[in-house]
């Protein structure tokens, strides 16, 4: 098939594939199928956005981070503080959360992205820990250990109240996730997105073809921080509560685990890994409240041994084997 039409095939690669509609159809179907699980559903949707933000830095740019929760927490606290102090408008709250997270991403990125690898990993951890302690110490403002109380989130567009059953929350999270996904998808197919893959694949060569590698890394780190901030803000708004655990190492680690389960660097890993992990967590903790973490751990071990690329990697491998047989 290659040859003269290689140009055409390459130029059409960014077009939408019918399968890409699947996650959204499933999400809408789940609304009708599990009406009593909508609050969990909204959490899952917001967490998918969080994992998507991690995928952009880890999967595309190859920046290994253990500090993604810093941005998640920054977004959540910004939105939460606004809502607790008289500004509960959700959309602007969300944007404020994104802006605050992006700012922290940009400022910390300028300092820490000079390093790579293990050093960078440690520094991302440091940034998250610093922010954690700052928010902990400022308990007069943030409630410290007790979490942020008294949020009042207004109805969306003045019309749609956040109801007890989570219907509004579910669709709100779904729409925000969809919009952010559109942006992320557009971005990974742009020359910028492809250059991030280039940086991941061979940073020396990116320098040698004249790409400003440092700048590109900083841009994606900031954008990823903004998306993580939106995710945190969504959870703050829909649960009307923000706690210190939003910034914990635990959260940074868990989001990576979810992403690895789904498959890293494919944009859709988050859509598979997050629901899988969170539903498994929900089920396991009901069946086996004490040892449910064991089952999650076992799942991880199996995945690392048999499917390094996560669920999506496994599917890809099976398909290519199938193709080879034909």
């Amino acid at each position: 098939m290659p040859g003269p039409d290689a140009v055409g095939i390459f130029a059409r690669r960014h077009r939408h594939h019918p399968l890409e509609a699947a996650p959204w159809l499933v999400a809408v179907a789940a609304y009708f199928a599990f009406p009593s699980y909508l609050p969990l559903g909204a959490q899952i949707l917001a967490t998918i956005l969080f994992a998507l933000s991690a995928d952009l830095v880890l999967g595309y740019a190859g920046i290994v981070t253990l500090g993604q929760a810093a941005f998640f927490g920054a977004g959540a606290y910004t939105t939460g503080l606004l809502a607790a102090h008289g500004w509960g408008e959700p959309i602007t709250g969300l944007l404020a959360g994104a802006a605050a997270a992006a700012l922290i991403g940009l400022l910390s990125g300028i300092v820490i992205l000079r390093t790579t690898g293990l050093t960078l990993l440690m520094l991302t951890l440091v940034v998250a820990s610093l922010l954690y302690e700052v928010i902990n110490k400022a308990s007069w403002l943030t409630g410290g250990d007790d979490g942020l109380q008294g949020m009042e989130v207004w109805p969306i567009f003045g019309r749609f109240r956040f109801d007890l059953f989570g219907q509004t929350a579910y669709f709100y999270c779904l729409i925000v996730l969809f919009l952010c996904w559109l942006v992320a998808r557009r971005m990974v197919h742009s020359p910028f997105g492809r250059s991030l893959v280039g940086i991941r694949e061979n940073v020396r060569r990116m320098h040698a073809i004249g790409a400003p590698v440092g700048g590109r890394r900083l841009v994606i780190y900031t954008i990823s921080a903004a998306l993580a901030g939106i995710s945190g803000a969504l959870i703050a708004q829909t649960t009307q509560f923000v706690a210190l655990s939003f910034l914990s190492l635990d959260r940074s680690g868990t989001v990576l685990i979810m992403l690895i389960i789904g498959g890293v660097g494919r944009l859709y890993g988050a859509f598979i890994g997050v629901p899988l992990y969170m539903v498994a967590q929900d089920r396991f903790s009901e069946i086996d409240p004490v040892y449910w973490y064991f089952w999650i751990g076992l799942l991880m071990v199996l995945l690392v041994v048999f499917a390094r690329g996560g669920v999506l990697g496994l599917i890809e491998e099976l398909r290519s084997r199938d193709g080879a047989r034909r």
């Binding site: 960014h14 742009s190 004249g210």
Partner: protein
Amino acid sequence: MSPLALESRGLCRSFGALVVANMIDFRLEHGARHALIGPNGAGKTSFVELVTGALRPSSGHILLDGVDISHWSQAARVKRGLVRTFQITALFRRLSVLENVTLAICERFGIGGGLFRPVGRHRAAIEEAFALVERLGLADEALCPVNTLAYGRQRLVEIAVGLGLSPQVLLLDEPAAGVPSGESGTIIEVVESLPPDLALLIIEHDMDLVFRLAHRITVLVQGRVLVEGSPEAIAADPQVRRVYLGERVPV
């Protein structure tokens, strides 16, 4: 008279006690077909790294077209037409041949940081990339990931990526290393069809290739320029024979 395409003055670099560049004065003229040879560890690749900015010199200057670029970033040097290829293939291994070249061309077009418009809509970049891929005889493999290609074919991609940057000064670091002899002909063809005003510096161990392509040769030994001259002069130079080509041993 127009300034030199590339010049190094008193270029030095050492790692502790190891001196990889020792007062290298080197001149590359416009349109030159110049070869840099020397035994393993002579500092040839280090010289390339110094000139392109991947390594910072301890002292000395580098001039591109008469402009001192010693403190420029790698990216700025590439934008001014100073391009290298790698001795050990340095490609985006899981990306297709076509995409490897397209990435380079996007950077040259200055659209590499574009966030929103998909690569696929930058038709001019893709078409130029494909023309290059075709020129190197890789059209049938254009959509294959680079790591599925034989190593010799990867060497050609390496050159295609370099050419995609429209170099004024091209530094080819052992382009034929690892290429089966049947395919080194393609490399010779490509080098011979380079624009006449392009300044080429080729580092190579394959002496047939060197003597076929180069009009001038510099011999580097232990980070120092041993001798420079025409191919005939170098081939006849007793010093070069001793350190590099090997001494005649009576059998």
